[in-house]
């Protein structure tokens, strides 16, 4: 605001030419040292007269304030055609976000941890295709800033307006850096017809060429999901001009919707200037069992591994890593402590299509091949490489074979099976029900202590019999007299992943059991609180689900 420039009204006490600055100057020095530009009333001293004049001037200036010239406003946020949340879901989101900013001070241990429900809430809202309420965008961005695991879902829900807002506030820069949610294609983009720009480019094309990196990453993912070939065309159009780190990110985003038609492009990328780009291209090609790279790898492996007449697998690891192998992504130098030859063998086997083994070994299936003895102590290397291949090629059959029976105790004398070093990744290749079944059986025989990572890869909500197995194991742990916080990780997972329908069955566990001499002192009360919290969280999740109904037509 600016003071009005109109001449001040005359007043007997103030000299007509006395400006506010003159009054301030006189006041700073003091009326003892400088005679102020005011005329005191009879009997009034100069200081009081200066205060009179200053009061008059202050009120006059305040009353006469004028608007300031407007600075340019930011360009309007792009439209977001997604539907708005139902009111109940909107207030729920307000609560979940508020809980994050005021973490449960003084709240009882038996109350649900709302912040932990935010990821699920966001995923469900995105599943239904809602957009975030505009007024909650700052809180949503703050939440995503503090928790990287929230970012993809939070930015998806936030949509174009969240990115618009993030561009105006340095605190939310992270949103512009990539991994920014799942974009939808520009709505008008129905084909390669001229967009509104009139320069023959479609909106997708324009956004791809001019957008921020984050927008481009999500645009590529959306385009690939919609039409893999069109997405690839988008990328190959500008590939030569992209920076190396961007090429790597774009290449990595092809992973989800990889198809055989991507092979020529990936083969070309094997000659990229950047080593990381080359390695990623090789990895992606090896996940395509029909690719030329996979065939070349299989050829090399065939020369190293064979089935002897005695039904043993014989291994002759490669003696050199030539330039053709290097071009196909084989890393020459092993990590310290590993022999070169076994390192190269591992990479070859990992990139070899798994169905070749059946072909080579006289029609044996995966389970039979895994059961074959391996000569000269190569079993660990070979099985570990099969595990990586099964994960990369998403082979349920091989994962199943390598995992074996969950009840199998890790054999004490023998080295543990290679699969057991990281069963969670192999489990991911199995269909969800089978995964849940395997983990349920694992928990039934081994308890909860090693179950955390396995539970983490199971689909939410947990399918039966998994939920029952977890609850039974918790019940057993309670009866054994341990404290619940020894199981806080699994308990937290259970709150987020158990089927809300289990709540009624769990209700009985919230009672405080009688203490006997075996139990830790007070443990019963803590278990009761923990189960109360579990039941409360399940009920809350049920409510959340009921509030977040799919949008109407």
């Amino acid at each position: 605001m600016t003071p009005r420039t109109a001449p001040p009204a005359t007043h007997p006490a103030v000299s007509p030419d006395a400006s506010w600055d003159d009054l301030v100057a006189a006041a700073l020095l003091g009326t003892e040292r400088r005679t102020p530009p005011v005329t005191p009333r009879p009997g009034q001293d100069a200081a009081a007269a200066l205060l009179d004049a200053a009061a008059l001037s202050t009120v006059r200036r305040r009353a006469g304030l004028r608007p300031a010239p407007a600075r340019p406003a930011p360009a309007p946020a792009p439209a977001d055609p997604r539907p708005a949340l139902p009111p109940a879901a909107r207030s729920r989101l307000t609560m979940l976000l508020a809980d994050r900013s005021a973490p449960g001070r003084g709240s009882p241990r038996s109350a649900p941890d709302l912040a932990e429900l935010l990821p699920q809430w966001l995923a469900l809202a995105n599943h239904h295709g809602y957009r975030a309420p505009d007024a909650l965008l700052p809180a949503l961005l703050d939440a995503a800033r503090a928790r990287t695991d929230l970012r993809p879902e939070a930015l998806t829900l936030g949509g174009p307006r969240a990115l618009w807002l993030a561009r105006l506030n340095g605190e939310w820069k992270f949103a512009l850096r990539g991994g920014a949610g799942r974009a939808t294609l520009p709505p008008e983009d129905t084909g390669p017809a001229a967009g509104p720009g009139g320069d023959g480019r479609s909106d997708t094309q324009r956004l791809w060429e001019e957008g921020l990196f984050a927008e481009r990453v999500s645009l590529l993912a959306a385009a690939r999901h919609h039409d893999p070939a069109a997405g690839l065309a988008l990328l190959s159009g500008t590939w030569a001009t992209e920076r190396a780190e961007d090429r790597l990110m774009f290449l990595d985003s092809l992973r989800d919707d990889l198809s055989p038609s991507d092979e020529p492009f990936l083969e070309q990328a094997l000659a990229d200037r950047s080593r990381n780009v080359r390695a990623t291209a090789a990895e992606l090609l090896s996940a395509l069992p029909g690719s030329a790279l996979a065939a070349r790898m299989a050829g090399r492996t065939r020369g190293c591994v064979s089935l002897t007449g005695a039904g043993r697998i014989a291994v002759e690891a490669p003696g050199a890593c030539d330039s053709a192998m290097q071009r196909d992504g084989i890393v020459t130098k092993p990590p310290s402590g590993r022999g070169e030859r076994s390192w190269w063998l591992g990479q070859l086997v990992e990139a070899t299509p798994l169905d070749r083994w059946t072909e080579w070994f006289g029609g044996l299936d995966a389970a039979a091949i895994v059961a074959l003895p391996v000569a000269d102590g190569w079993q660990a290397d070979l099985h570990a490489a099969w595990c990586r291949a099964a994960v990369r090629q998403r082979s349920a059959e091989w994962s199943r074979a390598l995992l074996g029976a969950p009840a199998l105790p890790p054999s004490p004398g023998d080295a543990a099976p290679a699969a057991w070093r990281d069963p969670a990744r192999l489990l991911s290749a199995l269909p969800p029900e089978e995964r849940a079944g395997w983990v349920a059986e694992f928990i039934a025989s081994h308890g909860l202590s090693d179950a955390f990572r396995l539970l983490g890869v199971c689909a939410v909500p947990w399918a039966e019999p998994l939920g029952r197995a977890v609850v039974d194991a918790l019940d057993i742990a309670r009866d054994a007299g341990s404290y619940p916080w020894s199981f806080s990780g699994v308990m937290g997972l259970a709150e987020r992943c158990l089927d809300p329908g289990q709540a009624d069955r769990l209700e009985v566990l919230t009672a405080i059991p009688d203490e006997d001499e075996d139990t830790a002192p007070g443990a019963g009360g803590y278990w009761s609180e923990a189960f109360q919290r579990l039941v409360g969280t399940l009920r809350l999740r049920e409510t959340i689900r009921a509030e977040l109904t799919p949008p109407g037509p």
Partner: protein, 488 residues
């Protein structure tokens, strides 16, 4: 939005929370799990909430008022159980069914409460503490409320007390005058060196003089020299306004009745609410709640609720106080329209009012548009200027701005509310930086024009509410200790 009939919204319930922690805790309890035997009938809501003990807490709420009763030991009011119960009821998910018979403990309390309400005007009239004309002297106000004499005081003694207080205030005002003229004689430059000590002593004298309004001004004067560039100009302004207030009180007999009332209110002399209700003419209107702002200094929560009459177009400010974690009454959620009698405190430019009586809301309430009509930036400044001509101590005047676009601040310029049609803008009050969610305002606007309610003053515009078209509150609870100038 009828408090007796329909279910409330979660927003309305959360508005009752005394602080953010209660809001969160209440939100946690808004699930069916801990509740049993819950029900609602005839404006009463009740339920049993399982806590850490063996006996569940008995929670009952009377929606009329509202009033709360809970067997938990919490000193917060309403407690988280009451909030959780109301949220659960508001969600309408069937966990709190309508129409059941209340259990005896709930029924008895509700009956007793209604009986007392019917007996006296107390509960419906929602008497706030007596107060002065603005929040500038919040403390004195609440203290005055606690000291409010009982009904049967001897009029002679009351007059005697008032005269004695007037003499004390006059002595305080004279002392402050001496302090100010000394300062101007020695020069403001000396104030920078003198530090806080001298002002502290003067502030203590103003407490002795029972002039909390002067005390608040003195504390602000003490803080100005350390408030950054341009402080001499600000210090002279505030010295001059303090001087004006001193002179006003010392010559109060020569002022018009309204200006004298304004002066007394600014000094911190409060009019007991019972006296106010008895003496002034009520204004009946359909009042729209435009916004709310809570401030706290740790001990006392000050709540400001702004209303605008739909027929009279008059602005009103309801000021209430809550001590020790209690939520100030009344808790009127933003966006509510209430048919009520308000009584304005006497002033040259009346704004502060007391809620005298609420009338039952007609059934068609809430059917009209949510976004209130507003004015442009020039009219807003003119409204402040016009009000300032009557009350020279006014810091700001409540205004609804329409069609303004928020412009975010840069490194060397503050936020603005710009009117793209005229190319004119109001700067956002720089004191909003830490306590108003300007980003929420920007997010809601999305680069386009919005309607914003707030206070327009000489520092700029302080936003309180915007609409999307539901009301979007922009203010968090302000903590008084850090704000520039130490204003409460």
């Amino acid at each position: 939005m009828n408090p007796q009939g329909e279910r409330w919204t979660a927003e309305q319930v959360l508005a009752l929370a005394p602080d953010a922690a209660s809001r969160t805790a209440g939100g946690r309890l808004a699930a069916a799990a801990p509740w049993s035997g819950a029900g609602a009938r005839d404006g009463g809501v009740w339920g049993l909430c399982a806590g850490s003990g063996s006996t569940p807490y008995r929670t009952v709420v009377d929606l009329d008022g509202p009033g709360y009763q809970c067997s938990c030991p919490s000193r917060k009011f309403p407690c988280k159980h009451a909030l959780g119960l109301l949220l659960l009821w508001a969600s309408g998910s069937g966990e709190v069914p309508d129409g059941g018979e209340p259990p005896e403990w709930a029924g008895d309390w509700l009956t007793e409460r209604r009986r007392r309400a019917a007996g006296g005007p107390g509960l419906r009239a929602a008497p706030g503490p007596a107060g002065n004309g603005d929040a500038e002297a919040g403390h004195g106000d609440a203290e005055a409320g606690r000291r409010r004499p009982g009904g049967g005081a001897d009029p002679e003694a009351v007059r005697h007390r008032a005269e004695r207080r007037a003499r004390r205030i006059a002595a305080g005002a004279s002392e402050l005058e001496r302090r100010l003229t000394d300062l101007l004689r020695d020069g403001l430059a000396a104030a920078d060196r003198a530090g806080f000590g001298a002002w502290d002593e003067t502030a203590a004298r103003m407490i002795d003089a029972q002039a909390p309004g002067l005390e608040a001004r003195v504390r602000e004067l003490a803080a100005i020299p350390s408030s950054g560039a341009g402080w001499p100009s600000r210090l002279l302004e505030e010295c001059a306004l303090a001087h004006l207030l001193d002179q006003g009180f010392l010559h109060i007999d020569t002022l018009s009745e309204e200006l004298a009332a304004t002066t007394r209110a600014r000094i911190g002399v409060t009019l007991p609410v019972a006296e106010l209700l008895a003496s002034a003419e009520p204004v009946r209107d359909r009042w729209l709640v435009l916004g709310r702002q809570d401030g706290t200094d740790g001990r006392l929560t000050t709540r400001r609720v702004w209303l605008r009459g739909e027929h009279t177009g008059r602005m009103a400010l309801l000021l209430s106080f809550g001590a020790g974690g209690q939520s100030p009454e009344p808790a009127l959620p933003t966006g509510l329209r209430l048919d009520a009698d308000l009584v304005y405190y006497p002033s040259a430019r009346p704004l502060r009012a007391a809620l005298a009586e609420r009338h039952p809301t007609p059934a068609d309430a809430g059917s009209e548009g949510l976004v209130p009509p507003g004015t442009g930036v020039e009219t807003a400044l003119a409204a402040y200027g016009e009000a300032l001509a009557r009350d020279p101590w006014l810091e700001g005047w409540p205004v609804v701005l329409a069609g303004v676009t928020p412009v975010p601040g840069t490194e060397d310029a503050g936020w603005q509310l710009a009117d793209p049609a005229t190319g004119l803008a109001l700067p956002v009050d720089p004191r909003c930086a830490g306590r108003t969610d300007l980003w929420r305002l920007l997010a809601t606007a999305g680069g386009g024009p919005v309607t914003v309610f707030g206070e327009c003053g000489h520092r700029g515009f302080a936003p309180v509410t915007t609409w999307d078209p539901e009301p979007v509150p922009l203010t968090a609870t302000a903590t008084a200790t850090t704000s520039q100038g130490g204003r409460r």
